[in-house]
């Protein structure tokens, strides 16, 4: 009986839509080398978890996350959602922003622990390989309050999950691509009813020296009198752009006899990236070394105690980040000499406790408490002081960040749900006021499964540690940013099990952010942050997904996203000459869209990805200058995959073609992007149960 109970509880943990983290995902399976898209039937009333009343969420399926070992989460988000990914190039800083807000308004959690850099506030998504993420979802606007505070734009929730419990598993993937790019991935796993152990490692290296025609500068041809006789746009290579990123993820899960579950996730990153030169740089790359290195360890210990009508969970975690930035040049003696030597260390301790309690199937009460204690040391410049001694420009600070929330979710009838969340946060010595969030959803029509959702919340974001303490410029007098966000939307789902499924949603949102923090130069020549802007971001998000069994062995899956996100500066003018009031924020596209199509036939799969951003202003005034402008962005990538299933292993061979139409383009001013490029992947998953 106990064993039966254990199996049932384990089943609930893994599959219960109310309690499992896998909820909301479409199921994909892979059998005998063929792709199967399980096209589920549509039954909205039964599938609306009480925990997600009114929540606007985008969940990524395993096909998107596990499409390629070469993809970072920045790539996945670019092509599978409508949030804006600002990338400074291939394997360089990539930040994401929801609904016209800034990257620091996006909160990111990994297994419950917030991983935003406490010094910068943002997260570099190019440093998160998608193969290390087993579950990812976006919480748009107000919905982020259910998970964390500070997400004025939204939150990205990332999770890794246990290996299967069916013995040994191994997967090895090798990728070889253009620009001397090599990607390797290895996963070793073992699992039984009690233990699941998994080790994942990936190594990505590239010279990243792609060719491009540089239209930002010309090469001069002189005669003997040093008169220019002709000029031409040079064909250059991406200079100083090489990278080497290593990731190791160790996971261990154990299910106790009382079915409590213990987990350990430890993720180590070792990255060494050159910082590519601008298109407008006339120096010789051999004279300079411009490099950023990072070593990060993130570890989370978890305990989950699950019973029929309640759940308690506790987590403890630790993050250590060491970052180094070095800018050196050869002064002519062959020795690289330091011009800038910047080091930062971050140690974060994390602890959280969560509880959920169900009363029947109409009420759910939740409570959570989380603490992040940061210890930060920034050493940005070595100098000689006036007295001849050595000095360091930098700061050393610690900050405690506490967050507590309670919620009551009520579903009086199957067709209606109401949820109230109250959250409060402490950063250092400053409390936020109570952060309220109210969510409502209701089934408007069972025919077509039309569901309406609405929510409203207040939110705050505290200044980052650099905002407050960076030398020079940190401003300890900064106020926290605050905002109100309103969401309302409709969704539908129609389909027939095994034949087709069509889902869609439309969401309107409106948010006002006050005291937006912006770094501006000072009269002393350095930058300093100030609470400067009031921003009104509003718009519409559309999502659609279609899964169709076209014919026997043919499957088509189409995902589409579209966003219209005006993000308007409504602050006071900086001076009488200020033309930015009433204008779209710079670098924020007003329109964005993605389409992701996947056609499967037996053991073949063809994938087409398309991404669009409208023209982005590079000036806050919305003026279009000749020499600083980012035109409309279109990108098309395709891939073709063939799976083989010999007796001893599952194999797959995949060819990816990026930038299919060989576009010459810049993602950010002066940052050239690669033209058409290729990568070939071979994946091997041995079958250990041969002969059984």
């Amino acid at each position: 009986m106990r064993r039966l109970t254990a199996i049932l509880l384990l089943g609930i943990v893994l599959y219960c839509p109310q309690l499992s983290a896998q909820e909301g995902q479409r199921a994909y399976s892979y059998r005998d080398g063929e792709h199967f898209v399980d096209i589920e039937g549509v039954s909205v009333v039964g599938q609306r978890p009480i925990k997600e009343i009114g929540v606007q969420q985008t969940t990524f399926d395993s096909l998107a996350l596990k499409e390629s070992i070469a993809l970072s989460m920045a790539d996945v988000l670019s092509f599978n959602s409508s949030i804006f990914v600002k990338s400074y190039g291939r394997a360089t800083l990539s930040t994401v922003a929801f609904r016209g807000t800034s990257p620091s308004h996006t909160q990111v959690t990994w297994n419950g622990m917030r991983i935003n850099n406490p010094m910068l506030g943002m997260t570099d998504f190019s440093m998160i390989p998608s193969y290390f993420i087993d579950g990812a979802s976006l919480l748009h606007g107000t919905s982020s309050v259910t998970e964390t505070g500070g997400g004025l734009g939204g939150a990205v929730k990332l999770e890794s999950r246990s290996a299967s419990n069916s013995g040994f598993e191994l997967q090895y993937v090798q990728g070889v691509g253009s620009f001397w790019t090599f990607d390797e991935f290895l996963r070793l796993g073992y699992g039984n009813d009690r233990w699941q152990v998994s080790t994942r490692a990936s190594l990505a290296t590239s010279s990243n020296n792609y060719k491009y025609t540089n239209y930002d500068k010309k090469i001069n041809v002189y005669d003997e009198q040093m008169n220019i006789v002709s000029q031409y746009y040079p064909e250059e290579r991406n200079r100083s752009g090489a990278y080497r990123d290593f990731h190791l993820l160790q996971e261990l899960y154990y299910t106790l006899k009382n079915n409590d579950r213990l987990g350990l996730n430890a993720w180590y990153i070792n990255s060494n990236r050159e910082l590519a030169m601008l298109t407008t740089d006339f120096s010789d790359e051999r004279d300079f070394d411009n490099r950023q290195r990072e070593q990060t360890l993130r570890a989370v210990l978890s305990w989950d105690h699950l019973r029929n009508n309640y759940k308690i969970a506790a987590r403890g975690g630790y993050i250590h980040t060491w970052m180094a930035y070095d800018y050196k040049r050869d002064p002519g003696n062959g020795i690289m000499t330091t011009m800038t030597r910047s080091r930062s260390k971050i140690n974060t301790l994390y602890a959280s406790a969560d509880g959920e309690y169900y009363i029947g199937n109409k009420w759910l009460f939740t409570a959570s408490l989380a603490a992040h204690q940061h210890f930060v040391e920034s050493r940005d410049k070595n100098i000689i002081l006036q007295d001849g001694n050595k000095g360091i420009v930098g700061y050393k600070q610690a900050r405690i960040e506490l967050a507590g929330s309670v919620s009551a979710k009520w579903r009086p009838i199957e067709r209606l749900g109401v949820s109230l969340v109250l959250r409060e946060e402490l950063f250092g010595k400053e409390w936020t006021p109570i952060i309220p969030a109210l969510f409502v959803d209701g089934v408007i029509s069972e025919r077509g499964n039309i569901v309406a959702k609405a929510s409203v919340s207040r939110n705050f974001r505290f200044p980052t540690l650099n905002d407050l303490y960076f030398l020079p410029g940190g401003n300890p007098d900064l106020r926290k940013e605050s905002g109100w966000t309103y969401d309302a939307g409709l969704s539908f789902a129609v389909g027939r099990e095994g034949v087709y499924r069509l889902e869609g949603s439309a969401t309107w949102f409106d948010s006002h952010i006050s005291d937006w923090i912006l770094w501006l130069p000072t009269a002393k020549g350095f930058f300093s942050p100030r609470n400067i802007k009031d921003v009104h971001a509003y718009g519409i998000e559309l999502k659609a997904n279609l899964s169709v069994a076209l014919a026997r062995d043919w499957q088509l899956d189409l995902d589409g996203n579209f966003s219209w996100t005006p993000s308007i500066n409504e602050g006071e003018p900086m001076s009488p000459a200020d033309k930015s009031v009433g204008k779209q924020l710079p670098y924020v596209p007003e329109l964005s869209a993605t389409v992701n199509g996947r056609l499967g036939w037996r053991t073949w799969a063809f994938n087409y990805k398309w991404c669009y951003y409208s023209e982005r202003y590079t000036m806050s005034s919305g003026d279009l200058s000749l020499s600083g402008k980012l035109p409309t962005y279109f990108m098309s990538n395709i891939s073709l995959e063939k799976r083989f299933a010999p007796k001893w292993a599952d194999l797959s061979l995949r060819l990816a073609i990026n930038n299919l139409f060989d576009e010459e383009y810049l993602s950010v001013l002066s940052r050239p992007m690669p033209g058409i490029n290729f990568e070939l992947f071979l994946s091997i998953t041995p079958k250990w149960n041969i002969g059984k």
Partner: protein, 353 residues
């Protein structure tokens, strides 16, 4: 069904035909003879959107992005300064590590010098010799402008590469004087015959700018550093220096927290101007700092200042939020607004033709 197929086909065509364009210009013809004012718009660091503007004080006409329009290529990243020598303009583009020589009337490039660490200002010693000051390098580079070659360097004593900072230069006779700014507190004296540092004088923390008045005396203004700086933080000061003896002749102290900058002289060299929220002016023979500004602030932080050497009109640059076209205000010597016009992002330096 046919309609559906047509619709799908249109969508597919739209998807695959969307293409981007790396926009670049065509070469435009300019003929800007006569007097004029060049404005270096720094642009945003690391974005390569520096531009050059040209203003005709007589016609009140401004042309923006003239380098890009004349040459169909970008000026680069952070246009720091410009100087004119024998009919050519020399534009120092700091983070592009280049100095462009341009024609003053057509704005077409005539040549370029590369190989710098982080150039800031250029000073001509002769037709075949110029100095270029730098930040993040303890050397001043020696240039042959005719051959566009770096021919040598002057190593500044007691200065590391990491803390290297030489700024504005003044030529008086056989000597060049240069202020050392970032985490520095000195004015150096260089013998142009030997290209060696032969003297120095300590001033306050971080002298930002340097000029020489009609009497041949040097004037510099410090910013005093910043709160929390390990190098120190003090009140900003104005200094008058005897270049022959490298001694301080006069020292005027500002209030703690004030950030004076951009010291300038009028054409006769007898009146100093600087920015300190407002625009201030002071006779070089005065014994005290002025109590009232020459021109009051318009509720913004001014970023650049120049005085028309012929008319003594005052030009002030407002960088606004540093992310849009800055604005130039032109005042008469009496302080009356004559003209105002938009230029490029972060207008910081001026150069009179």
């Amino acid at each position: 069904m046919r309609r559906l197929h047509t619709y799908i086909a249109i969508c597919v065509v739209l998807l695959i035909t969307g293409c981007m364009k790396w926009e670049y210009g065509t070469e435009e013809q300019f003929e800007a003879s006569g007097e004029g004012l060049f404005i270096c718009n720094e642009g945003n660091f690391q974005y390569g959107n520096a531009t050059l503007s040209y203003y005709n004080p007589t016609t009140h006409h401004v042309e923006n992005e003239i380098f890009y329009r004349a040459n169909a290529m970008k000026l680069g990243d952070v246009a720091q300064s410009m100087t004119i020598h024998r009919g050519s303009g020399w534009v120092v583009v700091n983070n592009s590590h280049v100095v462009f020589e341009i024609d003053l009337d057509t704005f077409r490039e005539k040549g370029r010098i590369t190989g710098f660490t982080s150039p800031r200002y250029m000073l001509f010693i002769s037709d075949e010799k110029a100095y270029v000051s730098q930040i993040w390098d303890n050397r001043i580079f020696i240039i042959n402008p005719k051959s566009y070659q770096i021919t040598g360097s002057i190593t500044c004593p007691n200065m590391t590469m990491e803390q290297g900072s030489t700024e504005q230069m003044v030529l008086l006779g056989d000597y060049v004087y240069v202020n050392c700014w970032s985490y520095q507190n000195r004015i150096l004296k260089i013998d142009t015959r030997t290209d060696e540092v032969v003297g120095e004088v300590e001033v306050g923390i971080q002298p930002t700018s340097l000029v020489a008045d009609y009497k041949g005396r040097l004037w510099s203004i410090t910013d005093g550093g910043y709160s929390g700086s390990p190098y120190g933080y003090e009140a900003a000061k104005l200094y008058c220096i005897d270049p022959a003896t490298m001694t301080i002749l006069g020292e005027w102290r500002f209030r703690m927290g004030e950030s004076p900058s951009e010291i300038q002289l009028n054409g006769r060299g007898d009146t100093l101007y600087w920015l300190n929220d407002d625009v201030w002016a002071m006779s070089v023979d005065s014994q005290t700092l002025p109590v009232r500004p020459k021109i009051e602030s318009r509720g913004t932080i001014y970023y650049g200042l120049t005085i028309d050497p012929r008319t003594e009109d005052i030009y002030i640059a407002d960088a606004i939020d540093y992310q849009q076209q800055g604005k130039i205000y032109r005042y008469s010597a009496a302080g009356e607004l004559i003209d105002e016009f938009y230029v490029g992002i972060i207008p910081g330096a001026f150069c009179w033709k």
